[in-house]
Symmetry: C2
Subunit: 293 residues, 2 copies
C-alpha cells in the first residue's frame, strides 16, 4: 500500500517505521527536517504530501492537537482519491472527530477516528492500542495499517467520535492517577514512608494503578527523562475539561489534577517526564525526592 | 493461644473466625449482642474481656476509629499480663499509633501497629493484607495471629506508626481512585460511552486501577450491596487529611475526593457500596446509571 504519516514525533515516527517494516511504501512528513531525513534514510519514500496524495491508500495523522489535524486535512482532503482512508490519531473532542469525518465524506474519503495509547516504545514496536470508530468501509480500508501499528484495536462502533470519547475517558483517568500517585508518594514521605517502600507495598495493594506502577519507578530512580512529558497533560486534561464543560459535566478530580500539571509546567518542568508533577508536591511539602539536593 | 477480638464487624468477625479455625481459643466482643452470640455458636469462648484479659496472649482490636481504639485499650491494658501483644487494626494516624504503643509499653504489653486491607471476604478467609510495624518482640508474639488472619504481612520496621502511615497512603489512593472511576465512567456516559464498554476497554488501558476493576462492575450491574460502604470514606479520607494538615501537606485530590463522598453520604447513600459515589456524578450530569429509572 501507498501510505503517508503526518507528524514524526515519538508516536508518529514509530507508526511510520512500523508501516515500513510491514512492507508499505511510506512517506513521512514533519515540520522539522531532521526526522524526515532520518526516516528517508531508513527507507521512507521521498517527496511531498502534495506529490504523493493522489496515489495514497491511507493517510495517518499523528499531530499534536485538533488545530494541527484540521490544518493537515484542509490541505490533504482535496488531494486524496475517493476511497482512501484517513486515520486521525491525535486526542481531540468527539465533536471535532465527527466534523472531520463529515468533511472527508464530502470528497469521498473514508475516516477512522483512531486515537492511540501506549507510549513511544509501543509505537516503535507496532504494538499501540487504538480506540477506533468509523464506518465498516473505513475499518476495512484501514485494516492493513492497523495490523502494522497496533497490538490491540478496540472497535468502538460505526460512529466517528466514539474513539475520541473513549480516549478522553482514558486520559481523564491516566492524568488523575499520575497526580494521585505523586500526591500519595510525597504524602507518605512526610510520614516517613520512603518512595521505594511506597512502590514495593502499594503496588501490591488496593491503592495501585497502572500509572502508579509505570511512573512511580521514575521517581524512585530520580529519572525524569521524558517517556511522556508534563506538557502533554495541560493539553489532554484541557481537552477533557473542554468536552466536560460542553456537556455541563462537573469533573472536580480532573480539574484538580490539571492544576497540579499547570503548576509543574509553569515552574519549568514541562519537558520533564510527567512523574515530575511530584516535584510540585515535594516543593510544597518541603521534602526532597530521590536525586534532589 | 488465648486470644480476643474486640469488634465483630465484617472485618473483625472474619478475623475472629480465622483465629478459631487456626485452633486459638478466641473470645469475640462487640457492643451488639447479635454477633457475639453468633460467634459463640461457632465455637467462640464465652465470658467477658475483664474475665479473659489476664490469661490472654493476644488482643486484636478491630474497631471503627482511634477514639474506640483508645477506649478499648484504656480498659484492657491494665488487665493484660506483661508480654501479651495488642494488634491494633483500625485506620488511625501514625502519631496515635505511637501514643498507644507507648501506653502499652508502660504496662509491659507489646504493641503491633497493624492496619488491615482486603475487605470482608479476605477477612473471612484469613487472607487479609496487614501493614505492620513494631518491635521484633511484638512481631514474634503476634506471629501466630498474623499467620491465621493474613495472606500478606508487610513488615514495615520497628517503629509503631509506620504501618498506619502506609495504610493512610493506601487509603488516599484507594479513595481517590474510586471517585476517579466514578467521574470517568459518568463523563463517558455523557459522550455516549456505555458503562459496560467503559469497563471492557479501560480495564485494559493505561487508565485502569485496582479500584476501577473492583468497583466499576458494581455500577455496570447496578448492584450497590455494600462490600465496602460510602460511610467508610468520609472517615478514612478525613484521617488522611487530618494527618496531611498536621504535616502542612497540600492534598488537593484527596480533598476533592472527600467532597464527593460527603455529597454521597449527605444525599442518603452512606450505607450503599462506595461505588454509589457515581450516583452523585450521574445526578449532577443528568444521566441514568444502569438500573436507575
Amino acid at each position: 500500500m501507498q501510505t503517508a504519516v503526518i507528524g514524526l514525533g515519538s508516536m508518529g515516527y514509530g507508526i511510520a517505521a512500523s508501516l515500513l517494516r510491514a512492507g508499505h511504501a511510506t512517506l513521512g512528513v514533519d515540520s522539522r527536517p531532521e526526522p524526515m531525513q532520518r526516516f528517508r534514510a531508513e527507507g521512507g519514500v521521498p517527496g511531498t504530501l502534495a506529490e504523493a496524495a493522489p496515489a495514497l491508500n491511507a493517510l495517518v495523522v499523528v499531530v499534536l492537537n485538533a488545530a494541527q489535524t484540521e490544518a493537515v486535512l484542509a490541505d490533504a482532503l482535496p488531494r486524496l482519491r475517493p476511497g482512501a482512508v484517513v486515520l486521525s490519531c491525535a486526542t481531540v473532542a468527539p465533536d471535532f472527530a465527527r466534523r472531520m469525518a463529515a468533511a472527508a465524506a464530502e470528497t469521498g474519503v473514508l475516516y477512522l477516528d483512531a486515537p492511540i495509547s501506549g507510549g513511544a516504545a509501543k509505537a516503535a514496536s507496532g504494538q499501540l492500542s487504538v480506540m477506533a470508530s468509523g464506518s465498516p468501509e473505513a475499518f476495512a480500508a484501514a485494516r492493513p495499517i492497523l495490523d502494522a501499528m497496533a497490538g490491540t484495536v478496540f472497535a468502538l462502533g460505526d460512529e466517528p467520535g466514539a474513539g475520541s470519547a473513549m480516549k478522553a475517558v482514558n486520559q481523564l483517568l491516566a492524568g488523575v492517577h499520575i497526580v494521585a500517585m505523586a500526591e500519595a508518594l510525597t504524602f507518605g514521605m512526610t510520614q516517613g514512608v520512603a518512595p521505594a517502600k511506597f512502590l514495593e507495598v502499594i503496588s501490591k495493594c488496593a491503592g495501585t494503578s497502572w500509572m502508579l506502577e509505570n511512573r512511580a519507578p521514575h521517581i524512585v530512580d530520580g529519572d525524569y527523562t521524558p517517556r511522556s512529558s508534563v506538557a502533554i497533560w495541560p493539553k489532554d486534561l484541557g481537552i477533557v475539561l473542554d468536552i466536560a464543560r460542553g456537556a455541563s459535566f462537573s469533573a472536580p478530580l480532573a480539574a484538580a489534577a490539571l492544576q497540579q500539571f499547570l503548576a509543574a509546567a509553569g515552574s519549568g518542568l514541562a519537558r520533564e517526564d510527567d512523574a515530575a508533577v511530584a516535584k510540585v508536591y515535594a516543593r510544597n511539602a518541603g521534602v526532597k525526592l530521590p536525586g534532589q539536593v
